[in-house]
């Protein structure tokens, strides 16, 4: 019985993440359009796209890795979702989150890009492989400040568990973005890269690489990629909210907080041109890393 409930809860979580993530995507398209002084598509446009992609009657692949690549990506998204506390008090969305810690999350989050990279590699499309190399290079860039921020938190609260960090946050009663501001700055700057909006969209660079790693994926493959991307966005946002913004007591607060956070990379991206790979790596190893370093010093000495 408990198991059934757990599974139901997990499914509910996934559905929630899917819906929220997809809606955010649509809303972003809408906002972008408004900034461009356009009408833009409806906010549910992404759902329509996704549904259409399922409805594609044919699909091709170049081999087993391309076939299963999207599944790898999905594993990364959903498993990390399972290990992240959605709400402060758990409830329906508890899942496995008491077992999760940050190091595990960092690594399981890499699982997806690797799967995507394998799928992209198998297609034999040079654009895909180039996109992948760029993506991996950029990942080396933004992971540094991100991990520095996380390490700063771990030092400060003596735990690597997400739930542990959240509890600590509750005890102090203040959001971590205020108790450890430098870590927050570093993490947010790293987040810019994580979401791959411009100026860090070199990976998929539409006019240059023909959408990069996914350029050979259509139909169901693209659908899986897209929905896992949406879930993943939700995962990342929730994680940030959990860590830096005190988590959320109910879904509405969660949505508000994640949405507010989401606007940072989106709005920054809309008004930015695109960095080359070197530039983006150098960007991440510059100020964000510096802030990360300050955050660690702050955590050690304050």
């Amino acid at each position: 019985m408990e198991l059934t409930l757990n599974i139901l809860g997990a499914i509910a979580t996934i559905v929630l993440a899917f819906i929220v993530g997809m809606s955010y995507g649509g809303i972003v398209r809408k906002i972008t359009a408004r900034i461009h002084n356009r009408m833009g598509p409806p906010w549910y446009q992404n759902f329509i796209d996704a549904f259409k992609l399922i409805g594609k009657t044919t699909a091709i692949n170049h081999g087993i890795m391309q076939h299963f690549g999207p599944a790898f990506v999905m594993v990364s998204s959903i498993v990390s979702l399972m290990f992240i506390p959605i709400l402060n008090n758990g409830g329906w969305f508890t899942n496995l989150n008491f077992d999760g810690d940050l190091i595990f999350l960092i690594y399981i989050m890499v699982f997806g890009p690797l799967g995507m990279a394998l799928g992209a590699g198998q297609t034999g499309n040079p654009n895909s492989a180039i996109g992948v190399t760029r993506g991996l290079s950029q990942m080396v860039g933004f992971e540094i400040p991100w991990v520095m921020a996380l390490v700063a938190l771990m030092i400060q609260f003596d735990t690597t568990s997400v739930t542990g960090l959240m509890e600590a946050q509750h005890e102090t009663g203040r959001w971590m973005m205020f108790t450890s501001p430098f870590a927050f700055i570093a993490a947010v700057l790293a987040m810019l890269g994580m979401f791959r909006y411009s100026p860090f969209d070199i990976v998929g660079a539409p006019t240059e690489l023909a959408s990069g790693p996914v350029s050979e994926n259509g139909g169901k493959y693209l659908f899986t990629m897209m929905s896992s991307g949406s879930i993943f966005a939700f995962v990342k946002l929730t994680l940030y909210v959990d860590l830096f913004m005190g988590g959320a007591d109910n879904l509405i607060i969660l949505v508000l907080k994640t949405f507010a956070l989401y606007m940072v990379p989106v709005l920054y991206g809309i008004v930015s041109p695109r960095y080359r790979t070197e530039q983006s790596i150098k960007f991440f190893w510059g100020w964000p890393t510096f802030f990360g370093f300050i955050a660690i010093l702050y955590a050690v000495f304050v």
Binding site: R29, A33, H36, N37, R38, M39, G40, P41, P42, Q45, I48, D49, F51, K52, G55, K56, T57, T58, A59, I60, P206, A210, S211, V214, S215, E216, N217, G218, G219, L222
Partner: protein
Amino acid sequence: MINDKNSQKIVDIIQNWARKHSLFVLAYGTGCGAIEIPPTMTSRYDAERFGIRGAATPRQADVLLITGYLTTKTLKRVIRVYEQMQDPKYVIGFGSCTINGGMYYDSYNTIKVLDKYLPVDVYINGCMPRPESVISGFVKLQQLIADGKGNGAKEYKENLESYRANQKKIIPNWVMPDYNW
């Protein structure tokens, strides 16, 4: 349940609705008409409000937009791109050149009637067609899809041999992989 005709119909209706509202366009800029695509997509005319969106590769695209005249040299590529697209897929012939050759009616190296080589679902008349007419063409396509009449791909598959014959007439050295479907 899938075999049940009625339910299949319902599914079709829903799917067609989705297809109609989500057109990923591969704008193959074959001729001068390509200049009309940017205004169509950007702020002034904003095709995205119809769910029309650019696609980067044929694998992801639903609509192949042939913008203008098609030289014999480009035809091969266009056929290739079309065949790489996933079903269901649609072709829009853009401008007079795709209908009857337009101002290139007597050119030795353009094809005159696109329909002989690819199953065109919607023609957009004009030389050049303005973005308004492009959008109206898309709306027409959406209607066709909603009615379940956007069957260009099916037609192409059924009449593949005649299409191939026509194509091979234009393209002398035919070194292409066979159509996968």
